[in-house]
C-alpha cells in the first residue's frame, strides 16, 4: 500500500493530478491510499513553491504543473527515484 498525497489548494490542476494518479495506480494494479492536502501550512511544510505537488510515501517527487502520465506510473512502480 503506497501512501500518496496530492498537494494543492484545490485548483483545477490539483484535481486533474489526483485523477491521473488514481488512474495510473488502477492500471498498474497498485494499491494506494490517495489523500488531497489543501492546508497551506502542510503544503508549505513539504517545501513546495508551486502547486500541484505530489508526495509518495512521504517523499516529494514532483511540484509545479502536471507531470507526464508515464512518470507517474514510474514513481508508483519504484517509489521516488533519489
Amino acid at each position: 500500500m503506497k501512501d500518496v498525497k496530492v498537494l494543492g489548494p484545490g485548483c483545477a490542476r490539483c484535481k486533474t493530478l489526483a485523477e491521473m494518479v488514481q488512474q495510473s495506480a488502477d492500471q498498474a494494479g497498485i494499491a494506494i491510499k490517495l489523500e488531497k492536502i489543501d492546508d497551506m501550512a502542510t503544503i508549505v511544510g513539504y517545501g513546495v513553491m508551486s502547486t500541484p505537488g505530489l508526495v509518495i510515501d512521504g517523499k516529494l517527487v514532483h511540484a509545479g504543473g502536471l507531470p507526464d502520465a508515464k512518470k507517474i506510473a514510474g514513481w508508483l512502480q519504484d517509489g521516488p527515484a533519489t
Binding site: 494543492g8 503544503i43 508549505v44 513553491m49 511540484a63 504543473g65 507531470p67
Partner: protein, 351 residues
C-alpha cells in the same frame, strides 16, 4: 522541480525531427503573420461585404485581429514556455535569498517576468521566498511584477501599438513593482503576516535541486505551455475581439474621448477602481484596449485600467488573505493602486 532522472532524449532522429519541426513552424508563422490583411480582405470578399458598412468594418476587424492575436500569443507563449524552464521558482528564490532592499527589489521585479507564476501558487511561493530569507519588500516586488508585467500583455502591446508603448509598459510596470516593494519593505510589516506564516519563517533547510533538461525537453515544455495557456485563454480572446470589433464598427469616432480622453482628470482613478473587481487575463483585455484607443480614449487611462484588471484581482487577494493579515493586504492594494495611478497620468502626459 523534477527530482527524477531525465528520460533518454538524446536519440539523434528525435533531435532532427524537432529541429525540422521548429524551422517549419517558424516559416509558416512568419508567412501567416505577413498576410493578415490579405486574409481579412478575402474573407470579406467571400462574404460579399464591403468595409464601407459598419458591419463590414467590424467583421474585417474581427478577421484581422483574431489570427493576429492568436499567432502572436502562440509564438510568445512557446518562447516563454522554453525560457521558464531556466527559471524554476526554486532557482529564483536561490537568486533572491539574502538580497538587501534596492538591488533585491530590482532583481525580484525582473525575475517576476520570466518565472512561471499562477495566482493559485501565490501563497506557497510567497512563504517559500520568506522562509529562504528573501526580505518581505523584495518578495512583494516579485509578487507585483509577476502578474502585472505579463509576457502575454507585453507581446500583444508590441504587436498592436509598436515597441515604444511596449517598452513604456515594461519600464513603468517594473517601476511600480520595485517602488511598491521598497515602500512595503520600509513599513516593516512582518508582524502583519498570519501567525502560522511567522512560525514557518524560522525554518531554513531549503536547497535548490539543479535541473538537467535536454533542449528537446525544454521544447516539449514550450509546447505544453501553448496547450495550457492558449487552450485556456482563446475563448476570452475571441470574446474580447468580438467586443472590440463591435466598438470599432459601431461606436462613433472620438466618442470615447469625451469621457476617457486626456483632459478628463478623473478618468484614471475611475479606470483603476473599475478594474479591481474585474478579473480576466491580459490576452482577453487587449483587443478591447485596442478598440477603445482607436476611438479616442487616452492610452494612459486605458493602460491603468488594464494594469488594475491584471494586477489587482479580487481572487488573488482572497488567496493571499490566508497568509497576510488585512492591514498588509490593504497596504499592498493601496501601494499598487497608487503606482498604477501614477503610470496612467505619466502616460497621458508623455504621449
Amino acid at each position: 522541480m523534477q527530482i527524477d532522472a531525465p528520460h533518454p532524449a538524446n536519440d539523434p532522429q528525435r533531435s532532427l525531427r524537432w529541429a525540422t519541426g521548429i524551422a517549419l513552424a517558424t516559416i509558416v508563422w512568419i508567412a501567416a503573420y505577413t498576410h493578415l490583411t490579405d486574409f481579412a480582405d478575402s474573407v470579406l470578399r467571400l462574404l460579399g461585404l464591403s468595409r464601407d458598412t459598419a458591419f463590414g468594418e467590424a467583421l474585417h476587424f474581427f478577421f484581422y485581429d483574431t489570427p493576429k492575436v492568436l499567432l502572436l500569443l502562440t509564438g510568445i507563449v512557446f518562447v516563454m514556455g522554453v525560457v521558464q524552464t531556466y527559471f524554476a521558482p526554486e532557482r529564483t528564490r536561490a537568486l533572491l535569498s539574502g538580497r538587501r532592499a534596492g538591488v533585491g527589489n530590482i532583481l525580484a521585479a525582473t525575475l517576476g517576468i520570466v518565472t512561471p507564476f499562477c495566482s493559485c501558487s501565490a501563497v506557497p511561493l510567497f512563504i517559500g521566498f520568506l522562509s529562504a530569507g528573501v526580505p518581505l519588500g523584495v518578495t512583494f516586488s516579485f509578487l507585483i511584477s509577476a502578474p502585472m508585467v505579463n509576457e502575454i500583455a507585453l507581446a500583444l502591446l508590441f504587436g498592436m501599438f509598436g515597441w515604444k508603448v511596449a517598452a513604456l509598459y515594461l519600464g513603468l510596470g517594473l517601476l511600480v513593482a520595485i517602488v511598491s516593494g521598497i515602500v512595503i519593505g520600509k513599513l516593516h510589516m512582518e508582524c502583519h503576516l498570519e501567525d502560522w506564516v511567522q512560525a514557518i519563517q524560522a525554518r531554513t533547510d531549503q536547497h535548490y535541486e539543479h535541473d538537467t533538461m535536454t533542449w528537446i525537453e525544454r521544447g516539449e515544455a514550450g509546447l505544453a505551455h501553448i496547450r495550457e495557456i492558449v487552450a485556456k485563454v482563446w475563448p476570452y480572446i475571441i470574446a474580447g475581439i468580438a467586443l472590440g470589433a463591435g466598438i470599432h464598427g459601431y461606436v462613433p469616432q472620438d466618442f470615447m474621448a469625451s469621457f476617457m480622453g486626456k483632459d478628463v482628470w478623473w478618468a484614471v482613478p475611475a479606470a483603476v477602481v473599475l478594474g479591481v473587481p474585474m478579473y480576466t487575463n491580459a490576452a482577453g483585455i487587449i483587443p478591447i484596449v485596442e478598440a477603445l484607443i482607436g476611438k479616442g480614449a487616452a492610452l494612459g487611462t486605458v493602460l491603468a485600467f488594464m494594469m488594475s484588471v491584471i494586477a489587482l484581482s479580487a481572487p488573488e487577494m482572497i488567496i493571499l488573505r490566508k497568509a497576510l493579515k488585512p492591514r498588509l493586504i490593504a497596504t499592498f492594494a493601496g501601494v499598487v493602486a497608487g503606482g498604477i495611478l501614477l503610470v496612467g497620468y505619466i502616460f497621458n502626459l508623455v504621449l
